[in-house]
C-alpha cells in the first residue's frame, strides 16, 4: 500500500452523502470503489477515503436506451452478467476476459476503469468504440457526455468533485469484437482494437473502429469507418483497410513497443477484427 496519510474511512450510504463528504475534505478526500489505482497511488495529500460501494451503483440493466452499468459494478460481475454476455455479439465478455486476472477483476470496477482511463487500458478503447455515454453528478447537477468526448477534455478534474454514476451502452444492430496484444493474458496491452460492423443487404451499414495503447488512449478512426460504408465485406476490403491503417494511424513509441511495430500491428489487428466482426454479423 503506497497511499500514506489517510486519517479517516467513510462508508457512504448514498451518492449525496459521498458528495457532501468529498466537498468537506476540500480536495483531500478520495472516492473509493475497487481501490486498485488508489491503493497504488503515491499521493500523500489524501486524508479521507469515501467508499461508495454501498451507494446502489452496482447493477447491470437493460432499457430502450441501452445497457446501463452502474459505476461500482466490478469487472467480474459485468463479465458474468447474462445481459453483458448477450450485448453486441458478446464484446464485453470478450474484452473483460483479457483485462488483468480474476483477483483484480473481482474488485476493479467499470467506473474506476473509465475514470482512470490509462492510455494502455482496454476498457476505454471498448467504451469509445461502443459509443458509451457516461453520467456523473456533482453537488449541483447531474451531467452526461459520450466517453469519447469526455476523453477529449480534462476529465480527471471533473471527477475530483463529481461521482460517476453509470455508463449507458447503446443498442447496436450488429456485432463488435475486441483483440489485444500483450505479453500474456494478464499483461497490459501493447496495442488493442475494438471494431464493430452492421450489415444490411450484404453491405456494411455502419462501422466503428477504435485503436488504443498506441501508446495513447483508444480513439476511433473515422476515415476508416467512412471508407467501409456501403462496401461488401470481403477479404479485399479488409486488406485495403489494413493498408489504410498502416498509412494513416497515429502511433508512437514507448518502452514497451516501437511506433514502427505498432503501425504494422495496428493494420493487422484492424483487418482481423473487421473480418471476425463481419463473420459473426453474418451468422
Amino acid at each position: 500500500m503506497r497511499l500514506r496519510g489517510v486519517l479517516r474511512f467513510h462508508w457512504a450510504r448514498d451518492v449525496d452523502e459521498a458528495l457532501s463528504l468529498l466537498r468537506a475534505y476540500e480536495g483531500k478526500g478520495a472516492i473509493l470503489a475497487g481501490g486498485v489505482d488508489l491503493a497504488r497511488s503515491a499521493r500523500t495529500d489524501i486524508e479521507g477515503l469515501i467508499d461508495i460501494t454501498g451507494t446502489g451503483l452496482s447493477y447491470v440493466r437493460e432499457d430502450p436506451k441501452g445497457l446501463r452499468i452502474g459505476a461500482t459494478t466490478t469487472l467480474s460481475e459485468l463479465l458474468f452478467h447474462p445481459l453483458s454476455r448477450e450485448y453486441a455479439g458478446g464484446v464485453i465478455a470478450e474484452t473483460l476476459r483479457l483485462v488483468a486476472y480474476p483477483a483484480l477483476r473481482n474488485v476493479a470496477t467499470i467506473g474506476g476503469a473509465t475514470v482512470s482511463a490509462h492510455p494502455w487500458a482496454d476498457i476505454p478503447t471498448m467504451l469509445v468504440a461502443l459509443g458509451a455515454e457516461a453520467r456523473w453528478r456533482n453537488e449541483e447537477k447531474e451531467e452526461k457526455a459520450s466517453v469519447e468526448e469526455l476523453y477529449k477534455t480534462q476529465f480527471r478534474g471533473i471527477f475530483r468533485e463529481a461521482i460517476l454514476l453509470e455508463l449507458v451502452l447503446p443498442h447496436w444492430d450488429g456485432v463488435f469484437v475486441f483483440e489485444k496484444i500483450g505479453r500474456n493474458a494478464g499483461d497490459i496491452a501493447l496495442l488493442n482494437v475494438c471494431a464493430g460492423l452492421g450489415l444490411r443487404e450484404g453491405k456494411i451499414a455502419w462501422a466503428r473502429v477504435a485503436v488504443g495503447a498506441r501508446p495513447e488512449r483508444g480513439e476511433r478512426l473515422p476515415w476508416l469507418e467512412e471508407m467501409l460504408l456501403g462496401k461488401e465485406p470481403d477479404e479485399n476490403l479488409w486488406k485495403k483497410a489494413e493498408e489504410e491503417v498502416k498509412e494513416r494511424i497515429k502511433v508512437g513509441s514507448d518502452r514497451r513497443a516501437s511506433g514502427e511495430w505498432r503501425r504494422e500491428v495496428a493494420g493487422v489487428l484492424v483487418r482481423r477484427t473487421l473480418a471476425r466482426a463481419a463473420g459473426k454479423a453474418v451468422k
Binding site: R2, L7, G35, T53, Y101, P102, A103, A185
Partner: protein, 157 residues
C-alpha cells in the same frame, strides 16, 4: 477505527488504521501465510479469498472487509490435516521456495469452486496473475489438475 469481519470462520472485532492494507492486518492477526511480494497487486503472493473470491490483500484497504468473510491458507488446512490442494501441490512437486504457494493454492481453490473440471489452459488462464520464480508453472498446473481430479472423485468438496 474498529471493524468486524470473519477470518477463517472466526469472528474478529479489531482496530485498524483507515489506510491500512488488509495484508498488514492479516499478518498482525498471525496469518503469516499471507506474504508481501510486489506490494502493488501484480504478483499474487498476497492473495486471500474475500467472500470466496480471490483478491489482492496488498491493495485492499482493511476497512473494506467490514462484515465480510476472509479466508487465508490457514483456513484451508493445517500441518496435521492439509487440504487436498496442499497435498496435491506436494505430490506433484509444485513447491520449491514456497513463497508463492499460499496465493497459488487459494486462487486454485477459487477456480475449482467455480469450475471443478478445468482444462489445463483454463488453469493457466486463472492463475495468470500469480507469479512463481522457481517451478516454471508446469507442476503447479499439474497439481491443480490433480486436486480437481480428486474433487471430482468426491475426495473433497
Amino acid at each position: 477505527m474498529k471493524i468486524y469481519f470473519e477470518l477463517n470462520g472466526r469472528p474478529q472485532y479489531v482496530e485498524v488504521e483507515p489506510g491500512e492494507s488488509l495484508l498488514s492486518l492479516l499478518r498482525r492477526l498471525g496469518m503469516k501465510s499471507v506474504k508481501e511480494g510486489c506490494g502493488t497487486g501484480e504478483c499474487g503472493v498476497c492473495t486471500v479469498l474475500l467472500d470466496g473470491k480471490p483478491i489482492r490483500s496488498c491493495i485492499t484497504f482493511a476497512p473494506k472487509v467490514q462484515g465480510k468473510r476472509v479466508t487465508t491458507l490457514e483456513g484451508l488446512g493445517t500441518l496435521e490435516d492439509p487440504h487436498p490442494l496442499q497435498r496435491a501441490f506436494v505430490e506433484a512437486g509444485a513447491v520449491q521456495c514456497g513463497f508463492c504457494t499460499p496465493g497459488m493454492i487459494l486462487t486454485a481453490y477459487a477456480l475449482l469452486q467455480e469450475n471443478p473440471a478445468p482444462a489445463p489452459y483454463e488453469v493457466r488462464e486463472y492463475l495468470v496473475g500469480n507469479l512463481c520464480r522457481c517451478t516454471g508453472y508446469k507442476k503447479i498446473v499439474d497439481a491443480v489438475l490433480l486436486a480437481a481430479k480428486w474433487k471430482r472423485e468426491g475426495r473433497w468438496r
